[in-house]
């Protein structure tokens, strides 16, 4: 059992949350130590389990605890036991995003140059329609913007994610890129039914949506004063009209992203681009609903009541 020595230290058994087994035992750890410190100590004893891989719970089937919590707060100093879950090999968020976004950038352009291996040798000499040129430009712009945002704008709360996500996400992004790009760049591409009016309207919607999305990202970045863990409700600011969408939805960045892809689909009149827009919209709606719920839970009555999660007035 646990024995308290004069320095508030105790013996801690780190047990597997699933199945039986001891991961390791720490002979003497202070009850005031935090989970973060525990992680460091366990990593020293078991080098393969670097801190980002470790997840702890006070009960075998409980929720995982935060790094900032002290062992005494969780009563672990009384029981002498804590439960461990291996999150598997981890990879940094920035690495993930780079792989996810660099892929589409490269793959789309691979089709754009009309390689004979895909389209046959006669393809590269056939004319390319304006819509296909603009498609390549927009696609490239979108993913270049994302890469730059990952480097310069976004601030991530978790340092890592499981490596399986990398495989899953890349399959999605790279796969859909090929699926869209193949048809827009095809030698038998048919331009939009309403001609240049449709192309330029789609382009305008795309560009405005990209601008809107960037505006929201910048606002969110500036929302938290650096060095604090303060959480605040995002509101429209006076300088950027795109931020007015916050009056209607919790996640206007997602709303704008849907706009981008609908604009792209209109501009290229390509079914697979539209499918990509729908798939993205579906996933982002799920994320937005979660985020919206979290905001309402955290801020309760202070949170603006007329806001929906992603589509104004609807959902």
């Amino acid at each position: 059992m646990a024995s308290k020595s004069a320095s508030n230290g105790f013996r801690l058994e780190v047990l597997k949350a699933r199945g039986n087994g001891v991961v390791t035992t720490i002979e003497n750890i202070s009850a005031n130590a935090t989970i973060a410190e525990l992680k460091k100590q366990v990593a020293q004893l078991k080098p393969k389990l670097y801190p980002d891989r470790q997840s702890y719970r006070a009960e075998a089937t409980g929720k995982s605890v935060k790094d900032s919590q002290k062992l005494s707060e969780l009563n672990v100093d009384k029981t002498g036991k804590i439960y461990f879950k291996d999150l598997g090999p981890q990879i940094g968020w920035s690495t993930v995003f780079m792989a996810e976004y660099a892929g589409p950038l490269v793959i789309y352009l691979l089709f754009y140059i009309r390689p004979s291996i895909i389209y046959g040798s006669a393809a590269s000499s056939k004319p390319i329609h304006l819509a296909a040129h603009l498609g390549a430009a927009c696609w490239t712009f979108h993913y270049a913007k994302r890469i730059l945002e990952t480097i310069f704008v976004h601030r991530f709360s978790h340092a890592t994610m499981p490596i399986f996500n990398l495989f899953k996400n890349c399959s999605y992004y790279w796969g859909f890129t090929a699926f869209v790009s193949y048809f827009v760049n095809h030698p038998k591409y048919t331009p939009p039914s309403f001609g240049y009016a449709q192309i330029y309207l789609g382009l305008a919607i795309f560009l405005l949506s990209e601008l809107g999305n960037l505006s929201i990202h910048l606002l969110l970045r500036d929302l938290r004063p650096p060095g604090t863990t303060e959480r605040r409700i995002p509101y429209p600011n006076k300088t950027n009209p795109f931020t007015q969408l916050f009056n209607f939805v919790s996640c206007p960045n997602y709303t704008y992203e849907i706009g981008s892809w609908l604009g792209f689909s209109l501009m290229t009149q390509t079914l697979t681009a539209f499918l990509f827009a729908i798939a993205g919209a579906g996933q982002m709606t799920l994320w937005a609903l979660g985020k919206h719920r979290a905001y309402k839970k955290e801020f309760a009555d202070k949170y603006p009541k007329q806001r929906k999660s992603i589509i104004p007035f609807l959902i």
Binding site: F183, V184, H186, T190, Q269, L271, T272
Partner: protein, 243 residues
């Protein structure tokens, strides 16, 4: 084929309303009879064959079961809604995925490419499906009336050992027959979506079927999963019997 075994005997029966129960009873009852009919017609036809050659081609089999098969298999989509609205304790996504694979075989392979109807694969697949479904729907129906016998549970969690591989074999044979039929370019174009068109979408149905075949790589994993479920369920049931 069928791993919709997530709900066996609920520990705390959150029984659906009287109306829901009646509806489910009718649904499950009708489908039990429907699949029994399909199984009966299938064997009636197959037993009329005079040679191994006939069995290889299975002429007339599809025609004799086509209508009840289409009705029963397509009606199964309702089960996605049953799961979504909590009438049945199953994961709607899993239900959907299983139904899609069977419905695709009926509408997207056999119905779409008529030559694919002439293969033993149809016989194997439909036999496996119908026996599985008769047991499954009867099980659900009797469960609603709380008179489901132990041996039926045993059947449900045991027959799959033979039926699941048999069904998959039948499905693959049918798909391969379809692929061989549409391989030549002239035939292929009839079944494919060709470029150019206004939506800028093309689909080579032969390669589409290649992708479908690749999806069957999931079979060993699903098969193993069903064994795990069997171990969990049958152990629990026999433990209950001791009381």
């Amino acid at each position: 084929m069928d791993s919709r075994k997530s709900s066996s005997t609920p520990k705390q029966s959150s029984s659906p309303s009287g109306l829901a129960t009646t509806y489910l009873l009718i649904y499950n009852g009708v489908l039990t009879i429907g699949w029994a009919l399909i199984l009966f017609e299938t064997f009636k036809r197959v037993l009329s064959y005079k040679s191994v050659q006939d069995l290889g081609e299975c002429y007339g089999l599809w025609n004799s079961i086509e209508i009840p098969l289409k009705i029963c298999q397509t009606a199964a989509f309702l089960e996605v809604f049953h799961a979504m609205f909590g009438l049945v304790r199953s994961n709607p996504m899993i239900v959907l995925i299983q139904i899609i694979s069977r419905v695709f075989l009926v509408w997207g392979v056999a119905n779409y490419i008529p030559h694919a109807q002439h293969t033993t694969g149809i016989f194997l697949a439909v036999t496996a499906w119908s026996i599985t479904e008769i047991i499954r729907y009867a099980y659900y129906a009797l469960n609603l009336l709380q008179i489901s016998p132990q041996w039926l549970t045993w059947c449900r969690y045991t027959f799959f050992i033979v039926l699941y591989p048999m069904g998959v074999t039948g499905e693959l044979l049918t798909i391969v027959k379809a692929m061989r039929t549409i391989y030549p370019e002239l035939v292929r174009n009839r079944y494919s979506i060709l470029l150019p068109n206004k939506m800028n979408f093309g689909l080579d149905y032969f390669y589409f079927l290649v992708v479908v075949v690749l999806a069957y790589l999931y079979f060993p994993t699903m098969y193993k999963h069903m064994f795990t479920q069997r171990a969990k369920t049958l152990k629990t049931s026999s433990a209950k019997k001791v009381q």
